[in-house]
Symmetry: C2
Subunit: 336 residues, 2 copies
């Protein structure tokens, strides 16, 4: 395979105080590097766009270091090894790693894993068989701890994580109610993915009442991807001994400081609610069996997935801004 | 012992929308009842006043039924059996039960327990060796799960629960920082109870900064009795993998609907914070060994306690209103 002398990448040039703009990023053309000893060169096939990246644009302490100004934006990719100086990877291997928003990348570190392209389309290594799928798997099973017959509500239900959460919930014998924005997303979640119900937060005038109607036995588990007013409505209807898997708060990611909302902690005392924040990598030691289980479910048709793919790395900034607005419909990917 | 023909009790006559007033209660004189088969008559020695009672004045679903209008206010008491039609209790037994705000009460049900008056003053059956002590014990050990060297912050640190939380924390080898209102309370918490530090939330202009100074290694466990702005400051400084024992939200109890505050759930994701609401009776099956352990600690001088006692049941409404304002200094009791 001929490797071009230059390739394109996207760097962060400004830390937006609120919603990011395309001008906060720069698409630049740079020389394609050569792998040194222990390294490989990867031709990126897909870049994954995920909400957590908004946090990396912030110059603040978090569970990962921020992206520096002028540095390549962080991001998971799946691609093909096109040159190798690492015995563990050979040319032609399909690999997955967090190598950033670029068309070619140097890899070969300990976090790089081979992807079995015979199992499923390789894009799933960034989705249902990757970080978002594992987030759904461990967040629901290890944090939410569902029991058959319980009711699960998941926000951003048609997103990369939400769609998997709900389908695993159905496999576990639960009633699953999604929350998504728009009739198309809700129809997909209900009709294609088999959720019991899906509430359109943009159309519902009274989300509290809609939740009560959709969850006649209350809400035992809330898998929270969004935070804000949607979560307020769910949490007002959480059951005694309810569990909340705090996965993300996309509605708050563009806020410079926490917006105001109703103080709900006091309501969790008498109801004995447990809320737990988690990050998928906390469960990294358990990925192997979880991936195999997910693979079986996909093969058996029990887990379906939807991707939202844009073409070309220059489209990545705009697609990411749209993701934060909820404009995507399914797992957001950039095809190179 | 001569039992008077009439006795006094306090009934709820109005559900206050905000802060209760004395006129929401009525002190009334009623005939003293006679125990029937299976019952005992208890002469109340102490009535316990506790923040949870504010919730019982509200006509809303909770973990216990509300007090009806015209009904005796709910409350734990310790007293002496003065007449018995129940083989399990004889005249002269000291007993503890939730028999309400009254000078004489009919008891003998399954929740009544005998108090060993040789162990400690009987008032402790409403405090350190009763519900508040058990709340501290299980909330800290089972919900907070302290490890030696960790830092614990407890709000309402001089209150019935807080004072015990901090002392158990010290026994567990933790750094313990209390938060209380006023120099007297803080001095007591630090000098008498042995907390490492105590912050006066009324005097501190910047509670965030004071917490950072008092907790150089951050906050691993927050035992929350108060909610509101004090909790905001603590939660902004909670450590990665921190635990929050949600015990109460006294700052919110008089609010008709949840006041607004900063949305902090999103900050708990990356930090993997766990927040868990609990009620002491969830651990009722474990009271026996916990009481014995507490008794040993008290005997060894490792757990001290302070009571705030008013005399006469007619003083109960005013004392309870003061408790909600933080005017008490130690475990609030009414001596009959």
């Amino acid at each position: 395979m001929t490797v071009p002398k230059t390739h394109r990448r996207v760097v962060l040039v400004r830390r937006p105080p609120g919603e990011p703009a395309e001008s906060d990023f720069r698409v630049e053309e740079v020389p394609t590097p050569q792998p040194r000893h222990g390294e490989v060169l990867v031709k990126v096939a897909y870049l994954s766009l995920d909400p957590y990246m908004r946090g990396r644009m912030r110059d603040a302490a978090s569970y990962s270091a921020p992206v520096g100004l002028g540095e390549v934006m962080t991001g998971g990719i799946v691609g093909e090894v096109v040159a190798s100086q690492n015995d563990a990877f050979k040319v032609g291997d399909v690999v997955e790693d967090r190598l950033g928003w670029q068309e070619y990348a140097i890899g070969g570190g300990p976090s790089m894993r081979k992807v079995d392209a015979s199992l499923a389309p390789i894009s799933t290594a960034n989705g249902v068989l990757g970080m978002p799928g594992m987030t759904a798997y461990f967040g629901l099973l290890e944090v939410g701890k569902p029991k058959p017959g319980e009711t699960i509500v998941v926000s951003a239900a048609s997103g990369a994580v939400g769609q998997v959460v709900g389908q695993i919930g159905k496999i576990m014998g639960c009633r699953v109610v999604g929350i998504a924005g728009g009739a198309r997303k809700c129809g997909f979640v209900k009709d294609e993915l088999g959720f019991d119900a899906c509430l359109d937060y943009k159309a519902e005038k009274d989300l509290d009442a809609a939740l009560r109607a959709a969850c006649p036995n209350g809400i035992d588990i809330y898998f929270d991807n969004v935070g804000g007013e949607i979560s307020d409505a769910v949490l007002r209807n959480i059951n005694f001994f309810g569990r909340v898997a705090l996965c993300g708060s996309i509605s708050q990611y563009n806020a410079a400081s926490p917006p105001m909302g109703p103080r709900l902690l006091g309501t969790f005392v008498g109801k004995r609610v447990t809320l737990r924040g988690f990050i998928v990598t906390d469960f990294a030691g358990l990925y192997g069996p979880a991936m195999r289980q997910m693979g079986e479910w996909i093969k058996a048709g029990k887990i379906k997935y939807r991707e939202d793919i844009v073409q070309g790395i220059d489209k990545a900034p705009r697609a990411f801004i749209g993701l934060l607005r909820g404009e995507n419909f399914g797992k957001m990917l950039v095809k190179m």
